[in-house]
Amino acid sequence: MILVLLDVDRDALDPVSLQVLTLSRGLDPDVQAVVAGDASVAAEAAAHGAGVVHVAEHPGLTDYAPRATAKAVVQLIASLSPAAVLAGGTPRGNEVMAHVAAFLDAPLATDCTSITMGAPFEVTRARWGGNLLEESSVTASMLLATIQPHAVAAEPSAAAGTVQAFTADLDDADLAVRIVERTGAAATGVTLAEARVVVSGGRGMGGSEPFAMLDDLAALLGGTVGCSRVVTSEGWRPHSEQVGQTGTKVAPDLYVACGISGATQHLAGCKNSKMIVAINTDGQAPIMQIADYAVVGDVHAFLPLLLAQARAASAG
């Protein structure tokens, strides 16, 4: 049996959890799920193959508490003895599974793109933000792993989804770290992670002022502005706009890279874009190799031309 940890935030199931359920069905016909405190997502999990949804109950499990969730999962593992426990390679999935692994002093393979059950388990996992894959074997009686987001596409498959509550035995130390407050309004504009179009600038922009052209182009295309790491290090744009391995990973319909050479750190965040347009003076820059359209030239000269034609097209 495979036990899948569901990543739930205020009644909303993270879509990567559905991908993990889908992948798990290919490993074992018996897939069950576990969630802390919140049974509201049971139907959605059942529709993707969870035969049983175990709900950990405790008065302290009112909002996300990583160590408490992990302790509950460890207690469930003791009674179910699953062959593997899997979660999405999301911030919460990775965090809770690391606590589970620490409690059990067991290995944890994160960001896996494929898993083969056996003794030992064989996994392929992402390194360098997905720019490199690692093939490894994991020596353990039970596999603990997280799955790289979008490693598989979620496919529905109806299962019973019987809800089974269990009482988690938690102490103060387990509940010491939990969300005490949320700040910052939910986004009103287009968020970087979900934007259909991202217009990004890099070192070649030369400063903060030329980014006004990117703001204009993004507005015309119904998108938002991103940037490379050097841009935030220089203070030209806020870090919330950084695309890359240490920033936000994006996969829009259109990614326009302006004055970005395409270091691996940056490509890790944008290479899954459906269409990439790169504008750069260096025709041999790495970003040009993965671009659908490569404009070899200076962004400062070319962007005004592009903006003028895009404006004309939009107005016409």
Binding site: L108, A173, V177, L254, Q265, A291, A294, A301, L306
Partner: protein, 252 residues
């Protein structure tokens, strides 16, 4: 406030990842090395906290003696001393990494109010060393932190989730793992570099247990063969792009 920052020396990969002939390692012969990115923010945060609250910053790197290069760089921005958890250079799995760090912390013997790490390393990215270390030290841990302040011995930690921030509060001593964006790391000054030469760097040999995650080989994922259309940087090139934007429906 006594702060320990655990850091990792990683290859400075530019554009291409080149593997060794046996395919088990990155070929680093032509590469420089740097600090794993999130950890630059961890050191900067530690230096800022000590500037505000007093105390000292100790750095801990696990790896070969070459780690001293990255430690000296960070001593130059204001950390006070450094420890190398010396290994034979073989790559530890995440459990062995946490165990090695713990061994060095115990050998050093100094108590810490705050232990900072990066949320994940640039190269292996296991997302677990800080959490395993916290369990071993019997301390609470908050991960993925992008906003940090300390008042009356309580750390207020913010995690960015979309446009929202989740706030966690944890009393010290604690382990906190941080992300790029927490701050803008300063560059070392010339006087800082001169001072750093004389700051103490001690070495503790640590043993790496047999890995339970055994790496067989590394693979560069095959590039999706794209037919790149090269455009001239003129009005014709701009017109071609506008047409492409229209085709995918992002421009009316």
């Amino acid at each position: 406030m006594e702060i320990l920052v655990c850091i990792k020396r990683v290859p400075m990969v530019g554009a291409a990842l080149i593997l060794t002939d046996d395919g088990t390692e990155l070929d680093t012969r032509r590469l420089g090395f740097q600090l794993s990115p999130h950890e630059e923010n961890a050191v900067e945060a530690a230096v800022q906290l000590v500037e505000k609250h007093g105390g000292s910053v100790t750095l801990l790197a696990m790896g070969t003696a070459e780690s001293e290069e990255q430690l000296r760089e960070q001593l130059a921005i204001g950390a006070d001393r450094a420890i190398i958890a010396l290994t034979d250079g073989s790559e530890p799995d995440p459990q062995a990494t946490a165990a090695g760090l713990l061994e060095a912390i115990r050998a050093d013997g100094a108590p810490f109010d705050l232990v900072l790490l990066g949320s994940e390393s640039a190269d292996v990215a296991g997302y677990q060393t800080g959490i395993r270390l916290a369990h071993a030290l019997g301390l609470p841990v908050v991960t993925n932190v992008k906003g940090l302040s300390i008042t009356d011995g309580v750390a207020r930690c913010e995690r960015a989730v979309g446009s929202e921030r989740e706030v966690y509060e944890v009393p010290l001593p604690a382990v906190i793992t941080v992300r790029d964006g927490l701050n803008i790391p300063r560059y070392p000054s010339v006087p800082g570099r001169i001072k750093a030469r004389k700051k103490p760097v001690t070495t503790h040999e640590v043993t790496i247990g047999a890995p339970r995650i055994v790496k067989h080989r590394l693979v560069v994922p095959p590039a999706t063969a794209k037919g790149t259309t090269v455009l001239e940087p003129n009005a014709e090139g701009a017109a071609a792009l506008v047409e492409a934007f229209r085709e995918i429906g992002v421009l009316s």
